[in-house]
């Protein structure tokens, strides 16, 4: 199994409070991603990183920011949480495409966030 740890695994917070989710990897992979999973939507990309301090937006980035100050850590921040951000958040890592590698992503176990 890929070494990916997400924290916290569960969090309940109130509307308007800031929240930070952490993803830590021990694989030294270049690429890291944050997805959210919601019923009827599958998984949707929030932000991704292609190197230290190099990040870009995904399809549902509004209300979220990310930071990657070192290879192993990718932080997802909700500046002011809203009820629509109640979801399960998954971090993923990838070594990228290469010989025999389709660039598949390896996912963490998820962080369940409830915004009241």
């Amino acid at each position: 199994d890929a070494g990916i740890t997400q924290s916290p695994r569960h969090k309940v917070t109130e509307t308007g409070t800031p929240v930070t989710l952490r993803c830590h990897q021990t694989e030294n992979h270049r690429y890291m991603y944050w997805y959210r999973q919601d019923p009827g939507h599958g998984l949707r990309l929030i932000h991704y990183s292609y190197g230290v301090k190099d990040t870009d937006k995904g399809e549902v980035s509004d209300g979220y920011s990310v930071s990657r100050s070192k290879t192993e850590d990718f932080l997802l921040t909700l500046e002011s949480a809203t009820s629509s951000q109640t979801s399960v958040y998954f971090c993923a890592i990838s070594a990228g495409q290469g010989l025999g590698n389709t660039g598949e992503l390896f996912f963490g176990e998820g962080s369940r966030l409830t915004v009241l």
Partner: protein
């Protein structure tokens, strides 16, 4: 707009029979297609993939077929086993900034294998 669609939210199959999960896509620029399996309270795990230049890839009990003209792919599981009961996500890959592979996922199909 939903670029990757799984139109069947659920599928029930008898143990030992073939399970066929379907997926449609709209973007011709996808370069890889992947299937992920997800158990409750766990992250998705990679199952099998296929390059956009191929039409079939097989790995043990799992085979993925790609029909580019129809923009359709399917996952065949044979024979189906109780441990195959899970949610299956179809995903399509696009290259992006810095070589990152962005995966676009379908909504998922819940497969139940009945004894």
């Amino acid at each position: 707009d939903q670029q990757v669609k799984q139109n069947s939210p659920s599928l029930s199959v008898q143990e030992g029979r073939i399970s066929i999960l379907n997926c449609d896509y709209t973007n011709s620029m996808f370069d890889y297609f992947l299937w992920y399996k997800k158990y409750p309270a766990e992250g998705p795990t990679f199952l099998i993939s296929i390059s956009s230049i191929k039409d079939k890839n097989e790995d043990g009990r799992f085979t993925v077929f790609l029909n580019k003209s129809a923009k359709h792919l399917s996952l065949h599981i044979v024979p189906s086993q109780p441990g195959d009961s899970a949610v299956y996500f179809c995903a399509a890959s696009l290259s992006h900034s810095g070589g990152a592979q962005k995966l676009v996922f379908g909504q998922g199909t819940r497969l139940t294998i009945n004894p």
